[in-house]
Symmetry: C2
DNA sequence: GAGATTTACGCTACCTCCTTGCATAAATCA
DNA sequence: TGATTTATGCAAGGAGGTAGCGTAAATCTC
């Protein structure tokens, strides 16, 4: 169930994509129960009849399944509500209980490790941050991250073994076994087997992915391009840049997660960005670089030619590379993310868009990411939720359930 | 069921990827029957016990399902065979009947239309070719293609309404509605709605796809890279070049099928190929250009510096562009296909590989396509098989069943 | 060649789950 | 207070899957 299972499978056993597992009445019940649960998950509260029409199951079956789900703790009965048409017996409203499971999103960044605990609808319950000043070694970084995990779990009152799903974001290439293949900017990070490192702490498999490839999930979830099918997401972070590629709604990893290394590719011209003063800001401390970027933005908005030409030449290089990539990928959106895009506001995006309008396919739209600095953690939470195993999981007991009031 | 249905869906209803449809006993039976059928499809012949262990169903259930499948005509009972261990009652062997369905692969190429009829295992039963000399207009080309369809169906003794699945290959961008958005090299072809054109002739929806995107399916099926997960497939045809991108085992289309237009992309340098004398050969007639290419190959193999430099400069441009793309896609293979790669043998591939070894990621392997001129038709047949609806289809009646002996 | 052994087949009994349909419950409206 | 409307609870019936036993059809042994 960890990574690397669905790769390199021969897709040509036969026709369409139905399941291949044997179905018995129990499996049927399980599948139908999950269907009901999903229907409730997607809505605020639903009556039996509403669930029946939404799922295609008979009302009787829905009724029986709800009895089970309520007994297990997945579902709460909201006291009969007034009702729409005004008359008739009011229907009982059933609601999914997001509190009965906790997932973790872990963002290991250069200067800090951030751990967010969220409920099953992805609402953040608590965020723990452990700063990582002075370029620490591998062991120190891992220990600090574990402290952040412990703090987050303590805050929401959940033991590690009860966590429903975990996703870890890291800079560098994450291979199909959940280890970092190449990461040059963090000490001793190349070769670290993150999935193995964290696996013993939890009862569920630990998912590990490159940070840009996770941030793009947040963009699809609660960002500028919800539910988009194909897009390119650029993480402009200064020295540490990356790309998230989404195709057919799914993030694409390539062989051992190596996809999207556009800054290593000769021929796209994006390696020229390294020389840009804007990229150079990445070397500064977070507060400092943000101030610098804001200063540039303000100067440019006042019409200062030096600031404008700085942004323009940056946009030139970016637009050239992204135009070429757009012919290859035919994405619906190109999204500019990372703190640099965040700090430069719409200035950069509009300028890149103007330049791409001439050279890229006409259907490609340029967007600025609407996500703030927590894009990567939110993406990790999204990935954790996507991997949460409804059928295997058991809801947390009432006394163990965290409430959103507890944490931050 | 045609194209364009699974696009742009929000992927974040909840967790993993189970089905969302209500399951009743009948659906369960249908799914289990399909599971049994698939097991038989993947093997030559199987006993009840073998099917039971392969599928996870009880032997009794397998037995009952086989009774149905045999009655419907899907399955044949091979007379009890000697048996492995030597003793014990010999098991009945059940075999999937590939003859009970016919699929069509249609390749509309510049100089001809080719229609191949195949059985459900993809064995070609008959191939009909209608030449298209003198750059005909749209109507003429469509009429000629219909003639080829009629001939192929006559040869295998099947009426159009009985065809189980159809896939059409065409040059140009095929949008999500099965129409050609842009195709400049064939008269009046831009805007032709191929799915609609052919739909009335058949009882099943007609799948339409760009020819390079279909050829790559043949490569995965019976070519140089069977079952590969990620690869880039180049169709070098002279004037009409294209690319097929496979990611996670699935061909990638992009917005309205526009993905892979690497020759329109400034910045990759591949537009420079247009100037190459090798590409120029595409303007000649098929026999002529093949002779010319073979002549170049022979001269190069004898060490002729002019021929070698011609191939080298071609390989240079190709390798530069493909190296850049390899950083972006991280494919396992880059495959050179099309008649040009076919004609130049391993010469081109080894030279491209040597140049890419320096600039591309180390895991990328360069391969020459092992498919001949029928790559596109075979890919169309593969696509048609992939879309064949087992559960909806009814096996052909015995008197209508084509036999491989009939056709070519 | 008859009986033992081995493996496969056919079938009955039973279980789970889904569906239909009707009687009952709980609200509003006249 | 009774009619109307909508929701709930429950009994009966049907479809499908599984377990397990007796029988069938081979080979092996003496």
């Amino acid at each position: 169930m960890a990574q690397g299972d669905m790769r390199d499978r021969p897709r040509h056993a036969g026709a369409g994509d139905r399941q291949m597992t044997a179905l018995d009445p129990r499996a049927m019940r399980l599948a139908n129960a999950e269907t009901v649960l999903r229907a409730l998950y997607g809505a605020d509260a639903l009556s039996q009849a509403a669930i029946a029409t939404a799922t295609g199951l008979s009302r009787r079956t829905v009724e029986l399944i709800l009895v089970d789900l309520e007994a297990e703790g997945w579902v709460r009965v909201r006291s009969t509500e007034p009702h729409a048409s005004g008359r008739g017996r009011p229907a009982r409203q059933y609601a999914f209980r997001s509190e009965v499971g906790v997932v973790l999103g872990i963002d290991i960044a250069h200067d800090r490790s951030t751990v967010a605990a969220a409920d099953l609808r992805g609402r953040t319950l608590h965020t723990a941050v452990v700063p990582m000043p002075g370029e620490p070694e591998r062991a120190e970084r891992l220990a600090g991250t574990r402290r952040a995990v412990a703090e987050a779990l303590r805050a929401v009152g959940v033991r590690p073994g009860q966590v429903g799903s975990v996703s870890v974001a890291t800079p560098g290439n994450v291979n199909d076994k959940g280890a970092v293949d190449v990461e040059l900017s963090m000490h001793g990070w190349t070769g670290v087997r993150l999935a193995e490192e964290f696996a013993p702490d939890f009862a569920v498999p630990v998912h590990v992915e490159n940070n840009a490839k996770l941030a793009v999930l947040a963009e699809l979830w609660e960002g500028a391009t919800p539910g988009a099918d194909h897009l390119l997401w650029l993480m402009l972070e200064g020295q540490y840049n990356g790309m998230g590629i989404v195709m057919d709604g799914v993030p694409y990893r390539g062989v051992d997660g190596a996809a999207g290394e556009i800054f290593w590719a000769k021929g796209l011209g994006l390696d020229a960005l390294t020389a840009s003063p804007l990229i150079g800001l990445g070397r500064l401390e977070p507060e400092e670089r943000r101030a610098e970027a804001t200063a540039i933005l303000e100067r440019a908005e006042r019409g200062d030619p030096a600031a404008l030409s700085e942004v323009d030449s940056f946009a030139d290089v970016l637009a050239r590379g992204l135009s070429a990539l757009s012919w290859v990928f035919a994405p619906r959106y190109v999204v500019l993310g990372g703190w640099l895009a965040w700090a430069l506001g719409d200035l950069l995006a509009t300028r890149v868009a103007a330049r791409m309008a001439r050279n890229a396919p006409p259907f490609v739209a340029v967007r600025r990411s609407t996500l703030g600095p927590d894009a990567v953690v939110r993406g990790a939470i999204r990935a954790a939720l996507d991997r949460y195993e409804w059928t295997a999981a058991r809801p947390l007991a009432p006394e163990r359930r965290p409430s959103p009031v507890d944490g931050g």
